[in-house]
C-alpha cells in the first residue's frame, strides 16, 4: 500500500469502459454483436495528437498497467516499472493507453460477463479469439478515443505478438513497434505447456464444462495448477535456485507430501492468489490465442513476406535466461525484419530472471528501453 505516491508513479488512475455497438467479425467466423473494452490511460494526448502509445498485455495481464486504483492497493499496475514520469514509457511525453483484451476477465467482454440480452454468462460459449481479433478491436478503441495513429505500440510476450500483428495489419497506423520477449509463433514445447495448463483446468471437477459460474463454483485446483506450471516456465533454473535453493520451509523434511521446500510453498501461493484474480475460461482463451498466433501462415509460412507489409521501426528485445521465448526466437523476428529491409534494432539483455525479466526493471533494460523511447520523444 503506498503511503504517499512516488513522483515517478502515474498516481491514482480510474479504469474506464468503452462500449462498441458495431459488430466485430472474428477470425473464427463468429461475430460479437456488441462488446465492452475496459481500459486505462496515463499522460495526456498532445495538441498534435501524435504521442499516443498502446500497451498490449500478456497472458494474465489486464488494463491496469500502471499506478494505483486506490491508496489501499497493495501493488501498482503490472508494468508500473516501465510506465510513469521519468520511466521508459514517460507519461510526461506520451499518452499511454492500456486495455483489457476481449475474452479477458477484468471488465472487457469475456467469459465472465453476461451474453447480450441474456442472464447467462458467456462462459465456455465465448468465441475463440485470436491476436488479430484483438488488434482489430484495439483499432476500434483507438478510433473511439480520437487517436489517428500510434507513435508506438509496446508489448511483452503475448503482448509482443499483438505488436507484430499490428505492424502487419495496420502498417500506416504504427510508427514504432516494440516487441519484447516474444516469438514469431509458438514452438511445439510452448503449445505443450499450454495444453497441460488447459487439461489441468478442464479436468477439475469444479470446471463443469466451463459453466462453473452457473454452478457457483470455481475450478480452483485446475487454475492453480495451470498457474503453477506457467510460473515454472516464466522463471529460469538459476532464478529459482537463487530465490529458493533447496531451502526447507520448516527446517526439516516432513517425510510426507505436504510442502517441504520453499519453492513448493511459493508456487502454491502464486497459484492460489491467481485463482482469486483470474478466470479459468479466460486462461483457456488466452492460451489458445497464443497457440494460434502465426502471422506468416497466410503468407506461405514466410515471415519475411508477412513483415514486408510493415512500415514501423522495430525495436526487438530478449532476455538471455528466458527459455519460454528464448533470444533465439527473437532473433528469428530480427532476421525476418532484416531480410524484409525494415528499420530494426535488437538488444539481448543479460538477465537471470527468465521470461519474467521483461517485467523487472533491471538497469540496462530500463536504459536501453528508455534510450529508444527518448529518441521518439525528441522527434515528436
Amino acid at each position: 500500500m503506498p503511503e504517499t505516491l512516488s513522483p515517478d508513479s502515474v498516481g491514482i488512475v480510474i479504469p474506464q469502459t468503452q462500449h462498441f455497438a458495431e459488430p466485430l467479425l472474428l477470425e473464427c467466423g463468429k461475430t460479437l454483436e456488441h462488446y465492452d473494452i475496459a481500459y486505462e490511460t496515463y499522460g495526456e494526448l498532445n495538441a498534435a495528437r501524435n504521442n499516443a502509445v498502446l500497451i498490449c498485455h500478456a497472458l494474465s495481464g489486464d488494463q491496469h498497467a500502471a499506478g494505483y486504483h486506490t491508496m489501499e492497493d497493495k501493488k501498482p499496475g503490472w508494468w508500473d516499472s516501465a510506465i510513469g514520469p521519468g520511466k521508459p514509457i514517460d507519461t510526461r511525453h506520451f499518452f499511454v493507453i492500456s486495455l483489457n483484451n476481449l475474452g479477458g476477465c477484468k471488465g472487457s467482454t469475456g467469459p465472465n460477463t453476461k451474453k447480450p440480452g441474456s442472464d447467462k454468462y458467456w462462459g465456455p460459449d465465448f468465441p475463440i479469439i485470436t491476436v488479430r481479433d484483438w488488434v482489430n478491436s484495439q483499432q476500434r478503441l483507438m478510433t473511439s478515443l480520437g487517436i489517428d495513429s500510434w507513435c508506438a505500440i509496446i508489448g511483452g510476450s503475448l503482448g509482443g505478438m499483438q505488436v507484430m500483428q499490428w505492424s502487419i495489419e495496420y502498417p500506416a497506423l504504427v510508427k514504432h513497434a516494440l516487441v519484447i520477449a516474444a516469438a514469431p509463433k509458438l514452438s511445439a514445447q510452448n503449445i505443450a505447456f499450454n495444453e497441460v495448463a488447459r487439461q489441468a483446468i478442464q479436468s477439475d471437477p469444479d470446471f463443469h464444462d466451463g459453466h462453473y459460474l452457473e454452478h457457483h463454483s470455481i475450478p480452483r485446483r485446475g487454475l492453480m495448477l495451470a498457474r503453477m506450471l506457467g510460473h515454472i516456465t516464466y522463471l529460469s533454473d538459476n532464478a529459482m535456485r537463487d530465490k529458493f535453493g533447496r531451502e526447507l520451509r520448516e527446517g526439516k523434511l516432513s517425510f510426507g507430501f505436504d510442502v517441504d521446500f520453499q519453492v513448493e510453498s511459493y508456487l502454491r501461493y502464486q497459484g492460489r492468489s491467481f485463482v482469486e484474480r483470474f478466470d479459468a475460461n479466460t486462461y483457456l482463451l488466452m492460451t489458445k490465442a497464443l497457440d494460434y498466433f502465426d502471422p506468416a501462415r497466410e503468407f506461405n509460412d514466410n515471415l519475411v513476406t508477412a513483415l514486408e507489409r510493415a512500415s514501423a521501426r522495430f525495436m526487438v528485445m530478449s532476455f538471455t535466461s528466458d527459455w519460454r521465448f528464448s533470444p533465439e526466437r527473437s532473433r528469428e523476428i530480427v532476421k525476418a525484419l532484416l531480410a524484409a529491409r525494415k528499420q530494426v534494432s535488437y538488444v539481448e539483455i543479460e538477465s537471470e530472471q527468465g521470461h519474467d525479466a521483461f517485467l523487472i526493471p533491471s538497469p540496462h533494460y530500463m536504459k536501453v528501453f528508455g534510450s529508444y523511447m527518448q529518441g521518439i520523444v525528441e522527434r515528436l
Binding site: R313, M315, R331, V334, K335, L338, A339, R341, Q343, V344, S345, Y346, V347, E348, H364, K367, V368, S371, Y372, Q374, G375, R379
Partner: protein
C-alpha cells in the same frame, strides 16, 4: 558535424543511397552521418551496452551481437553494397573469417585498422624494447583488446592470399584527414591508421 578522420574518408568512399552494414558500429556516428548526408540505409552491429544505448537514442539501427560469433546468420549473401569495419578488425577473434563474411554479405568491404608498423611503434619496440603504446594503440600489452594487430603489409598479404582485390587504400594519422607525401610514399612506415576498400577478385 565533424567526423573522425578515418570515418570521413570512409564516408567519402560510400556512394549516396547505398546500403551499409557497419561491424562494430560504436556509438553509430558513421551510420548517423551517412543517413543524414548520403541517404544511406544502414545497420550496425555492436556489443557494448553503452554504445547500444547511444545508437538507440540516435535512431541508428543497431543489432546487439558478438562479432566473434561471426554474423550469426543475420544476413543473406550480397545483401549490402558496403560492409564497413572501422578500428575493430584487430580486436576480433578471427579477422580473416570476418573479412570473408564481409565479402559474402556485401559487394565491397571497407576496413580501417591501426598500422602496427608505424615508425613510432617500430621505435618503441625496436629501440626501447617495449610493446608500442601510441595514440592509435593506447593500451598496454596486458589490457589491450587488440589481439590481432597487423601492418599494412600483413593486410595486403592476406588479401593477396585470399583472392581479395584492393580497390582503394589510404593511410592517415590521428590529426589529419589527408595523407602527407611521406605517408603516400611509405604507408607502412608513416601511416598510423590504414583504410582499405576491397572486393572479391572475379573468378573467386
Amino acid at each position: 558535424m565533424t567526423l573522425r578522420a578515418d570515418l570521413a574518408i570512409i564516408a567519402s568512399w560510400i556512394k549516396p543511397g547505398a546500403s551499409v552494414l557497419d561491424l562494430g558500429c560504436g556509438d553509430g556516428t558513421l551510420l548517423k552521418y551517412l543517413r543524414e548526408h548520403q541517404q544511406v540505409n544502414g545497420y550496425g552491429l555492436e556489443i557494448s551496452e553503452r554504445n547500444l544505448e547511444i545508437c538507440l537514442h540516435e535512431r541508428v539501427n543497431v543489432i546487439q551481437t558478438d562479432l566473434n560469433n561471426g554474423l550469426n546468420d543475420y544476413f543473406a549473401d550480397n545483401s549490402f553494397d558496403y560492409v564497413v569495419m572501422s578500428q575493430t578488425l584487430q580486436a576480433t577473434a578471427h579477422p580473416d573469417l570476418l573479412i570473408e563474411e564481409m565479402l559474402r554479405v556485401g559487394s565491397e568491404g571497407i576496413v580501417t585498422f591501426p598500422n602496427m608498423a608505424h615508425w613510432r611503434g617500430r621505435a618503441q619496440l625496436g629501440l626501447g624494447g617495449y610493446m608500442p603504446v601510441t595514440k592509435s594503440l593506447p593500451n598496454q600489452w596486458y589490457n589491450t583488446p587488440n589481439v590481432h594487430l597487423c601492418t599494412v603489409r600483413d593486410f595486403e598479404q592476406l588479401c593477396h592470399d585470399r583472392g581479395i582485390h584492393i580497390l582503394q587504400r589510404t593511410v592517415v594519422d590521428h590529426t589529419h584527414s589527408h595523407s602527407t607525401l611521406l605517408m603516400r610514399l611509405f604507408p607502412n612506415l608513416f601511416g598510423e591508421i590504414a583504410i582499405y576498400r576491397f572486393c572479391r577478385k572475379t573468378g573467386h
